[in-house]
């Protein structure tokens, strides 16, 4: 098993090259995931770049990204594999009155040809390097989580009719969760755990500078600080990094060079999505004293 990364710092550098600015802990866990061949469970507030991390890692390793979007009601047939029973039925009908024994037919219809691969099996069977991204795993029911366990720990899928299919190469696996429910111990035990939080001011500023063209350093700095102040207020939904970027783009388009209270008040609806949050923030930012810490 060849390693994909040289050391932690190189992970950080390579990710930076594809415009993903990460801190040491993120780079460290990605590095370990590669070395230990373990999946990474990424938790954290929405909009902090959890999914993007998976995509960016796929980009720097030159691997194919296979994505499984989870939702309530996801089942084996959508996640692992399914028998193409329509085709099987045709096969049986084509055989009617034919010369083959039933045993032959039944062996035949449970072969590779009639198997529809779904993301998990596809990631296992791929010949080329693969990054498997299992998005929003907290959306599936606890029972469905069990589907993932075999793949995550042994990188294999057991199909009763075919036997066990083992991975040709060990994929890098990322699972993201918005923490709407507690994931099962069994799942957590198999993964490395990474909590991605909102970036600090310095990193957020650099993210804005990287992602928004034509922005001045001064404005980026101010944006990062305003966002930090807003995140300190107790809100229904704190602004995410992607919302910060939207705000930054808007301000650039409007030709703003320096944020004052007026501009902030007029464009706050880009940053915050609830009217109550907006009023609360305006009230709070208006007072120089701010929230008590």
């Amino acid at each position: 098993m060849s390693s994909r990364f040289f050391d932690v710092a190189s992970v950080q550098d390579e990710l930076r090259a594809v415009d993903y600015l990460c801190d040491e802990s993120i780079a460290g866990v990605v590095y370990l995931a590669d070395r230990l061949d373990k999946p990474v469970l990424i938790e954290g507030p929405a909009g902090t770049g959890k999914t993007q991390l998976g995509k960016s890692v796929a980009e720097i390793t030159g691997a194919r990204l296979i994505r499984l979007q989870c939702y309530e009601g996801l089942d084996e047939a959508k996640a692992l594999y399914e028998w193409n029973y329509k085709k099987q039925l045709l096969r049986i009908q084509a055989e009617q009155g034919g010369e083959h024994e039933w045993d032959d037919v039944s062996d035949d219809i449970f072969s590779d040809e009639f198997l529809l691969t779904r993301p998990l099996l596809e990631a296992i069977r791929a010949d080329e390097p693969v990054v498997l991204l299992i998005d929003e795993v907290d959306r599936v029911e606890v029972e469905t989580e069990a589907l993932l366990l075999e793949v995550l720990s042994d990188y294999q899928v057991s199909i009763p009719e075919l036997g066990t299919i083992e991975a040709k190469q060990v994929p890098l696996v990322f699972l993201t969760s918005n923490n709407t429910r507690e994931l099962s111990e069994a799942l957590k035990r198999r993964c490395l755990y990474l909590h991605v939080d909102y970036p600090d001011v310095e990193r957020e500023k650099r993210i804005v500078l990287t992602k928004v063209p034509d922005i001045t350093e001064n404005l980026a700095d101010q944006i990062a600080r305003v966002v930090r102040s807003i995140r300190r207020i107790e809100l229904k939904k704190a602004p995410s990094v992607s919302e910060t970027l939207d705000w930054a783009r808007t301000l650039v388009l409007l030709g703003v060079e320096r944020i004052d209270e007026q501009t902030a008040a007029e464009t706050l609806n880009i940053l915050l999505k609830y009217q109550s949050d907006i009023t609360k923030t305006l009230r709070d930012l208006g007072s120089a004293d701010g929230v008590s810490v």
């Binding site: 390693s3 932690v8 040491e24 866990v29 590095y31 030159g62 039925l89 001011v201 701010g290």
Partner: protein
């Protein structure tokens, strides 16, 4: 991809390091973190691959393999800092005299604070130290902050070996002498003078937040320094024991401190989401209704009349209705505040929630929660506006339930779940337990959540036993863990 050939090879883990990690894991388990054997093995596997002398990486390697719950991060960090505080050269505590080589030395500090009349030698005057503190914060110079933190702890905390007081005492003494609020004011005045634009509130506000976060950082440095010195004095094991704080899910509602309460508040909303998800799932469970004959035949046509895909009717989901009845009297005050937060959070998740509060009278507070965006405001309104005192303002469950049955009993339907929150300390009034029986007969379920430990039930004036026969479940709910298990029970 690895285009370099000189890939770092896994290092061998020696006996000593193994012992160290195992000791650390024992300490973690002691702090209540569930660390399994496989996780233990993973951690050891992980540190083979990282440069062990890099403290930050080492920490993340351990954290990502051992801590699988964000709420446990604080506990992990504390144990880590204690356990590894004295390892590694830059973390050793120098003797009083030789703090030249590893500490950010006083010389360094002086260089940073040039323009000060340095008095030479190692004793800084309090004024000099205050000036350095000011400059460190003004510039946001982290290493200077660390230096200031170390010196102020040395000077002000008055730590003596073997003195049996906790770290918070030393922290308090140090902070009192540093007068951080005063420094903050001074920094802001300075800011206003230099920018010369006092009208811009937003800029001022941002600056204040910036300084605040620097002060927070300084405070963390001071705490770390105190911890380091305590560990040096008392030894790792003893310290790990004294610093042990309950995990967020084990904090007792009745005795939660203010910060703990804030933590609990944050934890509630995911919990109610979970509660909502649970109840919703229950609604959707058995997604398949009865067989839809017509659609099945229709679908079979594409397979030559073989009913390959049976079709089912969609079941009609019903909406859960919840009635919450909460005791907000003095004896459960802390619990009540929490309860109100819980009620507020629940009413945000479900459309049909009605909430009631009582002491010896009972009042419906549903409208007070509606359309109120700020929970604190809602709680304040409940506490001031709700008409819950009937005679003397001592809990009277019997009377309150009587009022409930009389006024709202007719609204209870077969789909209503009733949650009663209270300690059932009835001040020796009549229990009137028939009211709960009546509710139970009419409602889908009645649950009683009691913030008192089980062993106190039915002692003194507590009369849970009178009501519990008519409840579908009586639960001790003193902390988040128990609340969660209640939610699990529902599903």
């Amino acid at each position: 991809m690895a285009d370099r050939t000189d890939v770092r090879l896994p290092i061998e883990v020696g006996e000593e390091l193994l012992d160290l990690i195992n000791g650390f894991i024992v300490a973690l388990r002691g702090a209540g973190l569930p660390v399994s054997l496989t996780e233990n093995i993973d951690a050891i596997e992980a540190i083979k691959h990282i440069p062990i002398e890099d403290r930050a990486t080492f920490k993340y390697a351990l954290a990502s393999t051992l801590v699988k719950h964000y709420g446990h991060w604080n506990a992990f960090e504390t144990v880590f800092e204690v356990y590894f505080s004295l390892r590694g050269p830059q973390y050793a505590i120098g003797e009083e005299s030789d703090h030249g080589n590893v500490d950010p030395s006083e010389d360094e500090l002086r260089r940073g604070a040039d323009g000060l009349s340095g008095s030479g030698g190692e004793n800084l005057t309090p004024q000099e130290l205050a000036e350095m503190l000011y400059l460190a914060l003004l510039r946001g110079d982290r290493s200077m902050m660390r230096g200031v933190a170390r010196h102020s702890v040395k000077r002000y905390a008055g730590m003596e070996p073997g003195r049996p007081v906790g770290g918070t005492y030393y922290l308090y003494r140090t902070l009192r002498n540093l007068d951080l609020d005063g420094v903050l004011e001074r920094l802001l005045d300075q800011e206003q003078d230099t920018s010369g634009d006092p009208s811009d509130d937003l800029a001022l506000r941002l600056q204040r937040d910036e300084y605040r976060s620097r002060i927070d950082h300084l405070q963390k440095e001071i705490e770390a320094e105190i911890r380091r010195r305590l560990v040096a004095d008392r030894g790792v094991e003893a310290m790990a024991r004294t610093l042990r704080k309950p995990l967020p899910e084990d904090v007792d509602f009745m005795h939660a401190s203010r910060e703990e309460m804030a933590g609990l508040r944050r934890a509630i909303s995911p919990l109610t989401r979970k509660l909502a998800a649970r109840l919703q799932r229950k609604r959707r469970h058995g997604r398949r209704g009865p067989l839809d004959f017509r659609r099945t035949v229709r679908a079979s046509l594409s397979y030559g009349g073989v009913p390959v895909e049976p079709k089912f009717r969609h079941p009609r989901p019903h909406k859960p209705e919840i009635m919450v009845i909460a005791d907000i009297s003095g004896s459960v005050a802390a619990f009540a505040r929490f309860t109100l937060h819980l009620v507020y959070a629940i009413s945000g998740q479900f459309s049909k929630v009605r909430s009631f509060v009582f002491i010896d009278g009972l009042d419906e507070v549903t409208p007070l929660f509606e359309g109120v965006e700020d929970i604190n405001e809602a709680v304040h309104r409940v506490n001031t506006e709700a008409d819950v005192v009937w005679v003397d303002g001592h809990s009277d469950y019997g009377h309150a339930f009587g009022v409930f049955w009389e006024q709202y009993g007719s609204d209870i339907g077969p789909r209503t779940s009733i949650m009663i929150l209270g300690d059932a300390r009835n001040n020796y009034h009549a229990p009137e337990s028939w009211t709960v029986k009546a509710m139970h007969d009419k409602a889908k379920a009645v649950y009683w959540l009691n913030p008192e430990p089980c062993s106190y039930w039915d002692t003194g004036d507590s009369i849970v036993g009178e009501y519990s026969p008519y409840c579908d479940g009586t639960f001790e709910v003193r902390n988040l863990r128990q609340l969660e298990s209640f939610v699990e029970h529902l599903a």
